[in-house]
């Protein structure tokens, strides 16, 4: 346990102290897992996300989520349909949980893709060269587009396949990782241990990969959790508008869309339960982000 603490302190840099030397991403993650035990919010958030994901795939559902029951449409919650049914006769309860099969993996995949693109670009942009200038200028231009609408347009134009949705989510989130990694790297480069590594003749690439990048992992992880929360909103928004996932596939956004036609006449349950699930998921991701920020000593208070 004490070793884990030590590793944690070494692997996750704090702004106030000298960043650690050569901590690896893997070690950082493992340490983070252990650190989670000491941070209530982090643990709760993580467990909630895991539960939602597992329930989506393995929980025994009372009804088939993509098989409507035509004889019982728009039923209010009761003993048979715990969360009621929508106007096609789909069981809301089963679909709320089944939605996690699509929504969560897409959100996570989109986030991972944006990290995979964002880190190298961010590192590259932290070099003081003409290239970095160009990347940042390009990013400014790119971000001056309303990215959310851009993502909607891309999915609409290219078709609502899983890959396209994931790509759109990555697109929306990539700028924040580029900026974050760049600003982190800029600070780290000034620090003494990087100077030392450069002084003993480590190549620039080596310094970047072995020393700078691992030390950005903590804050990238926190940002990733926020990005995943955002991704959940984007997927729900896409599906709500009818551009993303479409019925009969279960997705929270699709369910809210279906229920939106009944909410003004009082059938609240069709939209409410998937919406509440989105809310819980986002809060959980935010808690993880908060916990990680605290864990690496970057919290504001």
């Amino acid at each position: 346990m004490s070793r884990a603490r030590l590793v944690l302190a070494r692997a996750l840099p704090q702004r106030a102290t000298e960043p650690s030397e050569g901590g690896r991403a893997g070690r950082a993650l493992r340490a983070l897992g252990k650190g989670a035990l000491t941070h209530k919010g982090l643990t709760i958030g993580f467990v909630v996300i895991l539960l939602i994901l597992l329930a989506g795939f393995f929980a025994p559902l009372p009804h088939d989520p993509i098989q409507p029951n035509p004889e019982s449409t728009l039923q209010s919650p009761d003993g048979e349909f715990w969360f009621g049914t929508d106007r096609f006769g789909f069981d809301v309860f089963s679909r709320v949980f089944a939605s996690a099969r699509l929504d969560l993996p897409i959100a996570l995949a989109g986030t991972l893709l944006s990290i995979a693109v964002g880190i190298p670009l961010g590192l590259a942009a932290s070099n003081k060269s003409r290239w970095s200038e160009r990347i940042m200028r390009g990013l400014d231009m790119f971000q001056s587009f309303p990215l959310l609408v851009l993502a909607f347009a891309i999915v609409a134009l290219t078709g609502n396949t899983l890959q396209n949705i994931i790509f759109a989510i990555a697109l929306v989130n990539v700028p924040r990782f580029i900026r974050l990694v760049r600003s982190e790297a800029l600070v780290l480069r000034e620090s003494r241990f990087i100077e030392a590594a450069t002084a003993i003749g480590a190549s620039r690439t080596r310094v970047m990969l072995r020393h700078v990048m691992p030390n950005t992992m903590g804050i990238v992880l926190a940002q990733a959790s926020l990005a995943a929360a955002h991704a959940i909103i984007v997927i729900a928004g896409l599906s709500f508008l009818g551009i993303g996932i479409t019925p009969p596939d279960a997705s929270w956004g699709v369910m809210i869309r279906v229920g939106s036609q009944n909410i003004a006449t009082g059938q609240w349950w069709v939209s409410f339960f998937p919406g509440a699930m989105v809310f819980v998921t986002i809060v959980a991701f935010n808690m993880v982000a908060d916990g990680v920020t605290r864990l690496i000593g970057r919290a504001e208070d």
């Binding site: 609408v149 809210i256 986002i282």
Partner: protein, 339 residues
Amino acid sequence: MRYRTGAIAKRLLFIPVAVFIVITLAFGLVNLTPGDPALVIAGDLASDEHVAEIRAELGTDKPLPQRYAAYVRELFTERSLGTSFFTKRPIWDEITQRFPDTLELVVLGLLGAVLYGSLLGTLSSYFRRRWPDTLSRTSVTITQSIPDFFMGLLLIYVIFYIIGWAPAPVGRIGLLDRPPDRVTGAVILDTLIARDWGLLKTAFHHAMLPVVTLALFYSSHFAKTSRAVLSRALNSDQVEFARACGLSELRVVGYAFREARTPVVTYIGILFAALFGGAAIVETVFAWGGLGQWAIDAMLKLDVPAIQGFILVVGLLTLLVYLLLDLIVVALDPRVSYE
């Protein structure tokens, strides 16, 4: 002063380049993405001839450089964004017709977000770690975790269906109301001009829920920014000295506000630009009939020229807002001058 005008001049010089990039991006987005809109529009059962016809009409049968040249030429010589594939109306007319509605929604929503968010942030930073802080931070956590469209639906259920304070969430005024004479195109403004107070009340009534939805959702940005900046400012030497000189607490908070206003104004600008597209979902929920709702419709129908025109206009609008933002920030802060 010299430096400031220099920095501004530099930004102004950059504009033509930026405009050109926006045009190219809007074109590229629609034309370089994989997939053939013509196939989707025609449907699975369409004959090859029909698909070819649609391609010809969309112009996608011609080679890319030729299309690009034609697009730019049309843009500059005829000031035309093309015509909608479905309505056959000029895109420009479609956009200008709906723009005032969206503008009204965005301005009101943003105003609400700024006021409510700054209030929360101020309470938070002034009563740091006491109950108003906890309360405001809890409220922020909740509102930022509810997607705006779901928030809109919740409000419809509670305030329209259960309490009955709001009218049915459809459009800008009642179905049977006669719209005001079109002057600006913005309904609330036009009823004001027409001095039709009854209709003004109806218009505000209809605007209530969408505006509150946007305000709640986006207030979290302002609450967080203003809390962070104000907390720092309230702890600054400047505020201590102001207090040591015996200035009233109100004045002291005012001093802190002045320090906080640049980031807040920056946020207002960024969100203002982002909301022209971002309000699309809320517009759809409340059948607002603005630019965003129209764009979403165009996307669902794959009205390629419309999508392209929308992206272009919103991109240029953002460019304009950012430029104004730069000018405002420079005007607000005498220190910004050394770039």
